[in-house]
């Protein structure tokens, strides 16, 4: 508990907590859309595909400022999606295989670039490898500012296009018949998901970031049947997982942040999977038992 009290006094810890809360909120909220559109695996491909983008952005600009990293990661993430789409459209390879291939190829290239960068005699490159598993402790105030501004933009756009995105996720064909440009909305929502993923990369890392897209959203879906509540709950779960994981990892040295945050998110998910009313496993098994009863009664008189 004392750790949480430190939040208010310890400047570094507070920065870390704010940063991971932001990434949890954004990845949880936008993750809801990825999960509802059955694009959870796309998130995994995006985060892995972002690594070469981060490396190239560093090689080109010789800078590690958050904005440069985010732009590089976003472009590479988007390129990954475009290649997957092109493969699915123009070949007989199915989407899951295409995602698997792109994820591995981009990540492989990223690791090669990362190794090359580390051999460059330049003190500046230190810390790029933290993008693999994330290091929330390294979050600086400038990182938080960039993350904060981008997050506000992402959340505002999600709110602004609420009705349009709902239509896109539920019934895109009907949406198109109403005259909404569903392709453009699709690209916009996908861009927001890409951004939600890349702003978390520094703290969580490319390897595990996709869990922050899937776990809070899937957990939230267990508790509610309303889109608005699901998005808010997912954001809350994401924030709780982010802050808790970051604090545990920064106070207990040597545990990388990303895995710790993902463990926290998984605990929330498992709890929701088991205990949520209606959709939870325990509730479901109770429901099954009561459902069988009337059937038996009906059969008995015969």
């Amino acid at each position: 508990m004392q750790i949480f009290l430190h939040l208010f006094s310890d400047y570094t810890l507070r920065t870390v907590a704010i940063g991971t809360a932001i990434l949890g909120i954004v990845s949880g909220a936008l993750g809801s859309y990825a999960v509802l559109r059955k694009q959870s695996l796309v998130g995994d491909a995006i985060s892995h595909a972002a690594l070469p983008g981060i490396c190239l952005a560093f090689l080109i600009t010789d800078s590690k400022t958050p904005l440069v990293m985010i732009v590089g990661a976003s472009l590479a993430g988007w390129l990954g999606i475009l290649v997957v789409t092109a493969i699915v459209r123009n070949t007989r390879i199915k989407e899951d295989a295409a995602l698997g291939i792109i994820l591995a190829v981009f990540f492989g290239v990223g690791i090669v670039l990362l190794t090359l960068i580390q051999k460059i005699p330049n003190a500046n490159q230190a810390g790029l490898d933290k993008f693999l598993f994330g290091q929330a402790a390294a979050l600086l105030e400038r990182d938080i500012k960039t993350m904060g501004i981008i997050s506000i933009m992402v959340i505002s756009l999600t709110f602004l296009f609420w009705k349009e995105f709902k239509l896109l996720c539920f019934d895109p064909t009907f949406g198109a018949s109403l005259g909404f440009p569903m392709k453009i909305l699709d690209i916009l929502l996908m861009t927001l998901i890409v951004i939600a993923i890349v702003i978390g990369l520094q703290a969580v890392g490319v390897v595990l970031m996709s869990a922050m897209v899937v776990a809070p959203a899937s957990a939230a879906r267990q508790w509610t049947n309303r889109l608005a509540i699901m998005v808010c709950l997912a954001a809350l779960f994401g924030a709780i997982a982010g802050v808790t994981g970051a604090i545990i990892s920064s106070t207990t040295a040597k545990i990388p942040t990303g895995p710790m945050i993902v463990v926290c998110a998984s605990v929330i998910f498992l709890f929701s999977l088991a205990f949520a009313p209606n959709r939870g496993l325990i509730w479901q098994s109770l429901l099954k038992k009561t459902k069988f009863k009337p059937e038996i009664n009906e059969v008995d008189p015969k």
């Binding site: 009705k163 349009e164 019934d171 018949s177 005259g179």
Partner: protein, 262 residues
């Protein structure tokens, strides 16, 4: 020419649609006069759904012209309502019946504006009309097939259109819902609205509809049910697979349509 165009609710000319060079619809001509209830009938893969989607501009056509009251669909969206196949959406989506019904107003609302009191009122009226007002706040995953179909119909009703295009509304619904849909269709006709329905059940065509288009990649025939809906046309449409014909003799000599060539 222009007189002809405006006298049709839907006019399709020379429509060809191909998926990867395989024609799905081949040189379709179809005129639907205003105020008719029309069934589109044909075997699986005949292109019935594609025809509706092509009229709505939802699939790219290789050639052809589709007009609604003489104008392209883009200019007539507000008077057209589309009811997709029930199975085309994920009914486990976290939303309520009322919410889905209100989506019918999204087009009229336009960008960014949210549904308000007016939309809620229209949605309630539509739900009442199809008998699902008591389900308004229910999560859509808890609906039966017939109830799901009524949700889609209520959503279409909120659009208050002149032309309705429905894709298999009778598919997998209970008898009560089927009757409710038929009553709704008849009400549409009384109001002078035009309804095009993709239909599977040949037995009910003459009972439910007054106009029919027989389709199997090509348009076999299109016109009033009592002149068009006969054995010869049906045999042409279904080839040897028709179980509707009564006499064994006619069955023994089925006329299978040749594959269209590009």
């Amino acid at each position: 020419m222009s007189m002809n165009q405006s006298s049709s609710a839907i006019e399709v000319t020379d429509l060809t649609v191909a998926y990867q060079e395989k024609p799905v619809l081949w040189d379709i001509d179809m005129n639907v006069p205003p105020g008719v209830l029309m069934a589109i009938v044909g075997p699986n893969g005949a292109g019935k759904t594609t025809l509706i989607k092509a009229i709505l501009g939802l699939v790219r056509s290789a050639s052809g012209q589709m007009l609604i009251y003489g104008k392209p669909y883009r200019q007539q969206r507000r008077i057209v309502s589309y009811v997709p196949q029930r199975g085309s959406v994920d009914w486990d989506f976290p939303t309520t019946v009322k919410d889905v019904v209100m989506m019918g107003r999204y087009g009229a609302l336009g960008w960014l504006r949210r549904p308000g009191q007016q939309e809620k009122k229209l949605a309630s009226e539509a739900m009442e009309k199809v008998g699902i007002l008591n389900l308004a706040d229910r999560q859509i995953s808890q609906l039966s097939g017939g109830q799901q179909q009524r949700v889609f119909l209520a959503r279409a009703l909120t659009q208050d259109a002149q032309v309705y295009l429905m894709d298999e509304p009778f598919q997998g619904v209970d008898a009560t819902t089927e009757r409710a849909i038929v009553l709704l269709l008849q009400q549409f006709r009384e109001e002078g609205k035009t309804v095009v329905v993709v239909h599977h059940d040949l037995q009910t065509v003459s009972d439910y509809f007054d106009w029919v288009t027989l389709l199997n990649v090509r348009r076999i025939a299109s016109g009033p049910v009592n002149t068009i809906f006969n054995e010869s046309n049906l045999r042409q449409t279904y080839g040897g697979r028709i179980g509707f014909l009564k006499t064994e003799q006619e069955m023994s000599n089925p006329q299978v349509l040749p594959e269209p060539t590009l």
